[in-house]
């Protein structure tokens, strides 16, 4: 099951906190995180990998990045 976390317009640590919350809630084995800055993209990827998740894809959109992370 896939879930989406919209962290656009928020600065760190909020995007990371929201991503970790979603990971903790369980249920989803794929989460798409929307961020709009490179720093958030790096931080969310780093935090997901620390939790044993894989960064499956990062696609650039007009509004920022869509980061797809999957349960490892």
């Amino acid at each position: 099951m896939s879930k989406t976390v919209d962290a656009r317009g928020l600065s760190c640590p909020q995007p990371v906190l929201m991503t970790l919350d979603e990971i903790k809630t369980g249920g989803a084995d794929e989460i798409i995180v929307l961020v709009d800055s490179d720093a958030s993209k790096e931080n969310v990827s780093r935090a997901a990998e620390n939790k044993g998740w894989n960064v499956a894809a990062i696609t650039e959109k007009a509004s920022g990045y869509h980061i797809t992370i999957k349960k490892g």
Binding site: G9, L10, S11, P13, L17, M18, S37
Partner: protein, 364 residues
């Protein structure tokens, strides 16, 4: 350069940046900056406030080119790597007051987190109290973050809005060129220049500016942040930013030793006092304010360079806070805390707690 992987985002990138700052800051001191103050974002913004006459403490007045370099260096990096993103609107007035009280706390301790690190690396034992206070303040901040504290989303805006603080910095630099320091004169045109005290001690303008630009560039790429270093470790047990901060302290310690600038002790340290409780409390206030605002004073300058108008508001809050701190006797001196320093710290902590408890609107 967008496609290039950001080498500074890795573990060795952030450590490398910490090492470079750890070398350059003691060198700036060797070249003329005040003791254990090769770089101090709070002190230098306070000196800028003094140079503009926002306060009239005669010993702390100088337009510090390092600060100009931090913002413009970050701006250059952001444009080069297509990361300039004009944005604002995340509770600006709250950020302004966080900036004011962050500065007041820093001036009770006599330094920001950058200088706390450099003071420790120079052997100043009082910095231990400051760093403990910083950790305590940031820890309180993380409790609010866990409880849902946030300042809300930003909105995209016109590039000109993102240019406001960089342009202000360019303006300060032009003022320095139009009204250069005149030997033995305390005023040149509209600018004040200290004749004695820390404000009179500075590395050559070109050196300060170049070092500032270089650090601003590197810090934009690496997201170097002294508050984030502690916050991320407390919040996520993540040591990425922390490794950069520790690299800075260790390198500066070695550099100070080699340059003959290391002197261990509590009493008689440069631009410091030994009132332990207020060293702790001042920095605790600062740490809490930085944590609630999402970045240390350096990071706020680097963010301003990438177009973050909210960080720019925080910076202006700090500059105004410096004016308040020195005009109304809140700032400390080597003799100890100022006459109104203690109540100011208490009020500051109360204001930050109020902000922490109330700014928790659900993110739409």
């Amino acid at each position: 350069m967008k496609g290039m992987k950001n080498i500074f985002a890795g573990r060795w990138g952030i450590i490398g940046v910490g090492v470079i700052i750890g070398i350059l800051a003691p060198l700036l001191q060797k070249l003329g900056n005040p003791g254990n103050m090769g770089i101090c974002v709070a002190c230098f913004e306070r000196d800028i406030a003094g140079a503009l006459g926002l306060h009239r403490a005669a010993v702390v007045q100088y337009i510090r080119p390092e600060i100009i370099g931090f913002v413009v260096g970050s701006l250059i990096a952001a444009y080069l790597f297509k990361e300039f993103r004009p944005r604002l609107g995340s509770a600006p007035i709250v950020r302004f007051f966080l900036g004011v009280f962050a500065m007041i706390g820093a001036l009770v301790f006599l330094g920001c987190p950058w200088r706390a690190a450099l003071r420790l690396a120079g052997g100043d034992g009082n910095a231990i109290l400051g760093l403990l206070g910083l950790i305590f303040g940031v820890w309180i901040g993380t409790l609010f973050l866990k409880g849902g504290y946030n300042l809300g989303r930003t909105q995209q805006t016109q590039p000109a809005a993102g240019w406001m603080l960089p342009l202000f910095m360019v303006g300060l630099f032009l003022l320095m060129l139009v009204f250069p320091q005149i030997e033995g004169k305390e005023k040149s045109g509209v600018l004040f220049y200290s004749l004695k005290g820390p404000g009179s001690m500075h590395a050559p303008l070109a050196v300060s500016l170049m070092v500032g630009l270089f650090i601003g560039f590197l810090a934009q790429r690496s997201r170097f942040c002294t508050m984030g270093a502690i916050r991320d470790f407390v919040l996520f047990r993540q040591s990425h930013l922390l490794s950069g901060f520790i690299a800075l302290i260790v390198t500066a310690f070695i550099a100070n030793f080699i340059l003959g600038q290391f002197k261990a002790g509590f009493a008689g340290q440069p631009v410091s006092h030994t009132m332990h409780l207020w060293n702790f409390a001042g920095m605790a206030l600062s740490g809490l304010a930085f944590c609630l605002a999402g970045g240390c004073p350096g990071r706020q300058l680097f963010l301003s360079g990438e177009g973050d108008g909210d960080a720019a508001i925080f910076v202006m809050g700090m500059i105004v806070g410096a004016g308040i701190a020195h005009n109304f006797g809140l700032a400390s001196s080597p003799a100890g805390v100022g006459p109104y320093g203690i109540p100011a710290v208490i009020v500051g902590i109360a204001v930050c707690l109020f902000i922490g408890f109330t700014m928790r609107k659900r993110i739409a």
